[in-house]
């Protein structure tokens, strides 16, 4: 327990620049979206038949189903990069491995902090939409933001876990990033084909609700009960991938 805080602090120091940058950009998208909605609404919700609340539809297309979600997915992957492979490149792996803690704990703390950062980032739109919307004389349902945050957190955890595993597999620090990006684009295409297309496997769609039974595209609102089974499955997949990465870290030679 005593090693927990220093390890978390070490992981924080290594990733804070990426996290802060991501948080600032996500905040900028949400804040600009709310306060400059006069111009941006014409871009994201052009004159078309949208039966629901225009502001809700606009926020969905800008944030939960649009550029902000894409940026969030990329950030989830970028936050996972680093670790002992990168430290070996920087010739600091020896110092880290000399710490009186197990490798499993080192990697576990990095994963824990990353997942915490993803939780914060996924809750950011919730906070911003709740606080800023009334300032702009509009409102977005709190319950919807909370449910989307939950979907983002689960989807973000999967993307994080994929990149986390890639960063333990590849020596080159940018190769892991390239492979993660390839996964992010290639994987949704693979699940379009049978027999995979019978199951809700597209994490992008799960996060945005697109083509999912728990999302009503006409009103851009999440409906019914949250997809707990799907969320639990995604958490399990993320857990397995992170577990695998930890096992690889335990066995690898970093000399």
């Amino acid at each position: 327990m005593s090693a927990l805080r220093p390890l978390l602090f070490k992981a924080w120091c290594e990733s804070r620049e990426r996290f802060v940058l991501g948080a600032v950009l996500l905040t900028a998208i949400c804040a600009l979206g709310i306060f400059c909605r006069g111009s941006l609404m014409k871009v994201f919700l052009p004159n078309e038949s949208f039966v629901g609340d225009p502001y809700v539809g606009y926020i969905y297309r800008l944030v939960y189903g649009g550029p902000a979600r894409g940026l969030f997915a990329i950030m989830a992957m970028v936050l996972a990069l680093g670790g002992l492979q990168r430290e070996r490149l920087h010739r600091t792996a020896g110092f880290t491995l000399a710490l009186p803690v197990s490798r499993a704990r080192l990697a576990g703390m990095q994963a824990l902090l990353g997942l915490g950062q993803i939780a914060v980032l996924s809750a950011l739109p919730l906070f911003l939409l709740t606080v800023c919307s009334p300032l702009a004389q509009v409102s977005y349902p709190l319950e919807q933001t909370a449910r989307f945050s939950l979907l983002w957190m689960a989807g973000g955890a999967v993307f994080f876990a994929v990149a986390f595993l890639a960063s333990t597999l590849f020596r080159n620090e940018y190769a892991a990033l390239a492979v993660s990006f390839v996964f992010m684009i290639f994987y949704p295409i693979v699940v379009l084909f049978p027999p995979l297309n019978r199951y809700p496997l597209n994490v992008h769609h799960i996060m945005s609700g697109l083509a999912m039974p728990y999302f009503d595209a006409r009103t851009a609102l999440l409906v019914g009960a949250p997809p707990w089974a799907l969320l639990a499955s995604m958490a399990a997949v993320a857990g397995v991938l992170i577990g695998l990465a930890v096992q690889i870290t335990k066995q690898r030679d970093y000399s």
Binding site: E17, R18, L21, G22, L25, A28, I29, S39, L40, K42, V43, P67, G70, L71, I74, M75, V78, L81, G82, R86, L89, H90, R91, N172, E173, Y174, A175, L177, A178, V179, F181, V182, M184, I185, F186, P188, I189, L192, F193
Partner: protein
């Protein structure tokens, strides 16, 4: 020697990018029958290739991979403790920057060329044809715009010290660009629609057009020239910053 150094630093990224692009393009061509059969409305082969490769998934992948190619540089070398060795080489910092930029641009152009080589070659195997000239037009657009994306990441890599922060900033910059280009105020300036240019919005009325001849309009050379200028400026600023910075 300098060229070899730059190649060694980026070849893994380039190889992964090339393999991924070839794989994606191959999958798009070979699976064309299944995808077109499930499409909401009938799609010609040319339109299918445009929607799957030049407008959507493969284009997104290309953009992300170009961003990855732009990462690195002296700030990263400082973090790895190798900046001293590189700076001790008997070449100026400007030359270091120039060689890295040219190597990157060459890789970006080669990546852009891959779909043009693979798609016309694979198409006859699925009983279709895709003209090489048409594919080459899109490659020119990708290469021209890819150079700006590369230069943007290159510039951000010389400003932001984190290894991956320039990637996030570049993605954010491109998102901002695409949103700004859609604003009514800027809609009269197609050159500012960077991503639109990249997927051929200025080539022809691609939407709803099924004839191959519709694609064969002249390339937007003015926009491409403007992008080349922007790319050169970004590399120039990155060079200026690197030349003055203390890497000790």
């Amino acid at each position: 020697m300098l060229w070899y150094k730059m190649w060694r630093e980026s070849w893994i990224r380039f190889a992964i990018s090339a393999a991924a692009l070839l794989w994606m393009c191959g999958a798009v061509v070979l699976l064309q029958q299944q995808v077109r059969a499930h499409a909401d409305e009938p799609l010609s082969y040319a339109h299918y290739i445009w929607s799957a490769v030049y407008k959507a998934n493969v284009l997104d992948l290309y953009i992300l991979l170009v961003i990855v190619l732009g990462l690195g540089g002296m700030l990263q070398e400082r973090a790895q403790g190798t900046a001293g060795f590189t700076l001790a080489l008997p070449v100026s910092r400007w030359r270091l920057i120039a060689v890295r930029a040219v190597m990157g641009w060459a890789q970006v152009a080669l990546l852009a060329l891959l779909p043009a080589l693979l798609i016309p070659l694979l198409s006859p195997f699925v009983g279709e044809a895709y003209p090489f000239v048409l594919a080459l037009q899109f490659s020119v657009l990708w290469a021209g715009c890819g150079m700006v994306i590369f230069a943007l990441t290159f510039f951000l890599s010389s400003v932001l010290s984190g290894a991956y922060s320039p990637a996030i900033a570049s993605v954010a910059g491109l998102i901002a660009c695409s949103v700004l280009a859609e604003l009514p105020l800027l809609q009269g300036h197609p050159a500012l629609d960077f991503l639109g240019t990249m997927h051929g919005a200025q080539l022809s009325t691609v939407h709803g057009e099924t004839s191959l001849t519709a694609f064969a309009s002249p390339l937007p050379w003015l926009s491409l020239g403007l992008y080349a200028l922007v790319a050169l400026c970004l590399i120039g600023v990155a060079g200026g910053i690197t030349a003055r910075r203390d890497f000790s």
